[in-house]
């Protein structure tokens, strides 16, 4: 809860630091704010306090996910230290908006009231609409912003509709009250409540880009500035999944029969659409967007097997995914900056230009592909074995087949890195940038070697 306050104030501080002549001030303020927010957040561990008339419930689940989001954003912001040219708008506003968005994310992982869920989604999304369009003079960025806004508004409508229907039945916004109501219904929940639940699936499915609500993802990811894309595919995805999981773990555990078939279909559809479409992409950024869709599909498996997939395996998966994705995007930003292209071909000859970057790229994509000993592998392993335990054999088979497809397009990048390129000028990297890459790559491997560090948290 204190993290929420710190983040809001840090956002304001970042905003005003933009008036300083020192361009680095905003970055330093942001890093400081995030560090404080993380610390304050961790200090609440094992307290589980309810705030605001029980609208927000800061339990360990909330603290863990808040910590992940704050750290991820810290890594992303650290990339800014050496990067000024990649984003056109003054940095300070970007940071402030990222902070506000993150504040929304914190609400999303700690809500215990559906109104807070809705508010969180809006606070998370509205800064993103602006951020998506922050390359003001680029047409694709404008397009991304307006598409995201319109579709997002639509999805919010679904969400609100769902909340209203549920309120209509249960006369409460509180997820535990709703759960109690459902329990009293003895497995025969009112149809309107179930309909409301599906509306919520639709609205939240949009946020985590689950098929068939995923269409905005590639267009928006590609059009947005890369740093915003990184934020969206890591922090926003974490918030969305965590909110989704919280909803189903707290409010609807008693009626799994109603939603498991639907979410199974969504999961299979999402990962298949994401992976199959990614195969054809020549732009790495767009490919990562589809890969993000695919990973959302894998994560939906955790919902289906909620009995044997505890929150910790979702947390582990999200950390593994966030670390690898930040790493991959950090490299992509360098490639964009030096070659002006975000195509797979831009990675050609990278092993000659910078063996360091080549290695980092390899680690990142191997982790995304889920090959041992990286974290990506164990994340999938926990998820899939949980699904098998819960008896979803077919879904697991589909997921494994999809993982095979994924290897194809991830390795297109890796093979490009080690093939001959036309350009052979060495790539220069900033110290902090390099540090972020090393930290993420090391985490991608270290978390794979010691998964208990995360698994034992929740």
């Amino acid at each position: 809860m204190n993290a929420l306050l710190v983040l809001s104030i840090a956002g304001l501080a970042a905003l005003f630091s933009g008036f300083s002549h020192n361009k680095k001030l905003a970055v330093i303020v942001s890093l400081l704010g995030l560090a404080v927010a993380f610390t304050v957040n961790v200090l609440d561990w094992n307290t589980a306090v309810r705030y605001y008339n029980d609208m927000i419930f800061v339990d360990n689940y909330a603290i863990a996910f808040t910590g992940v989001m704050a750290l991820t954003m810290l890594l992303i912001v650290a990339l800014f230290v050496d990067y000024k040219e990649s984003v056109e708008v003054p940095n300070a506003e970007i940071f402030a908006l990222l902070f506000f968005s993150l504040a929304g994310g914190v609400m999303l992982v700690s809500y215990s009231n559906l109104l807070m869920l809705f508010l969180g989604i809006e606070i998370l999304s509205i800064p993103l609409y602006i951020l998506a369009g922050s390359k003001r003079h680029t047409l694709t960025s404008n397009e991304a912003a307006i598409k995201y806004f319109l579709l997002g508004a639509f999805a919010s409508a679904f969400l609100l509709f769902g909340i209203v229907l549920i309120y209509g039945v249960t006369a409460s916004f509180h997820i535990e009250t709703i759960a109690a109501y459902i329990k009293n219904a003895n497995g025969q929940p009112p149809a309107l409540l179930v309909a409301g639940m599906f509306m919520l699936i639709g609205g939240l499915g949009f946020k985590i880009s689950a098929a068939p609500f995923h269409f905005w993802t590639p267009d928006v990811y590609q059009g947005s500035p890369t740093i915003v894309t990184t934020f969206m595919s890591t922090v926003v995805k974490t918030a969305g999944i965590a909110a989704f999981y919280r909803l189903f773990a707290y409010a609807f555990p008693a009626i799994t029969a109603e939603w498991i078939p639907t979410i199974s279909v969504l999961a299979a559809l999402t990962m298949t659409v994401g992976n199959v479409t990614a195969v054809f992409q020549s732009s790495v950024k767009r490919m990562l967007a589809y890969s993000g869709i695919a990973h959302a599909g894998y994560l939906l498996i955790a919902f289906v097997s909620i009995s044997s997939n505890p929150a910790s395996s979702v947390l582990y998966y999200l950390i593994a995914y966030a670390v690898s994705t930040v790493c991959a995007f950090a490299v992509l930003m360098v490639i964009q900056h030096t070659t002006g292209s975000e195509e797979v071909d831009g990675f050609k000859g990278l092993s000659k230009r910078s063996p360091f970057l080549a290695f980092i790229t390899t680690v990142a994509f191997i982790s995304l592909a889920g090959i041992p000993p990286t974290a990506g592998f164990f994340a999938k392993f926990y998820l899939f074995s949980g699904a098998v335990k819960a008896g979803h054999l077919w879904l697991t088979i589909i997921a494994v087949l999809n993982s095979c497809i994924a290897i194809y397009y991830y390795f297109r990048v890796i093979t490009a890195v080690y093939s001959e390129g036309t350009d052979s000028t060495p790539v220069e990297l900033g110290t902090v940038q390099k540090a972020v890459m090393i930290i993420t790559a090391v985490l991608a491997v270290a978390l794979g070697l010691f998964p208990e560090m995360i698994i034992s948290l929740l």
């Binding site: 809001s8 005003f16 008036f19 209509g168």
Partner: protein
């Protein structure tokens, strides 16, 4: 589907509301006399002769000021319910309102420093 019955009154009201609008519009269109002339079909604008299209691009500054006005206008709306319940909400409510105002004030300062209200 028992609960659907509870919504029956709402459904009836919906039908009545829609029905009333549709009925009156159709009725006036059918019943009212229609006399057309050039002067009558002209766009009415406070007696002044209208020129050009209404949808012309205008300076963003108007828009900006309008939006900012709405923003701070809404701020005041939030204060009404708080003022009504001032005693019940007590010190904590007062502090929360202070935070709220402070955030908006920060926004105002930002806007002024950014020069959004400069009219040149």
């Amino acid at each position: 589907m028992n609960s659907l019955n509870d919504y029956l009154p709402i459904g009836i009201q919906l039908i009545v509301a829609l029905g009333f609008v549709v009925t009156t519009m159709v009725a006036t269109a059918l019943l009212g006399p229609k006399r057309k002339s050039k002067k009558k079909d002209e766009i009415f604008e406070c007696g002044i002769e209208s020129t050009g299209n209404a949808r012309v691009p205008f300076s963003i500054k108007y828009f900006l000021v309008a939006i900012l006005f709405v923003l701070f206008d809404v701020e005041v709306i939030f204060m009404y319910p708080w003022a009504v319940n001032f005693r019940e909400l007590g010190l904590q409510g007062f502090l929360e309102m202070l935070v709220f105002i402070a955030f908006l004030l920060a926004g105002l300062i930002y806007i002024i420093k950014k020069g959004a209200l400069k009219w040149e």
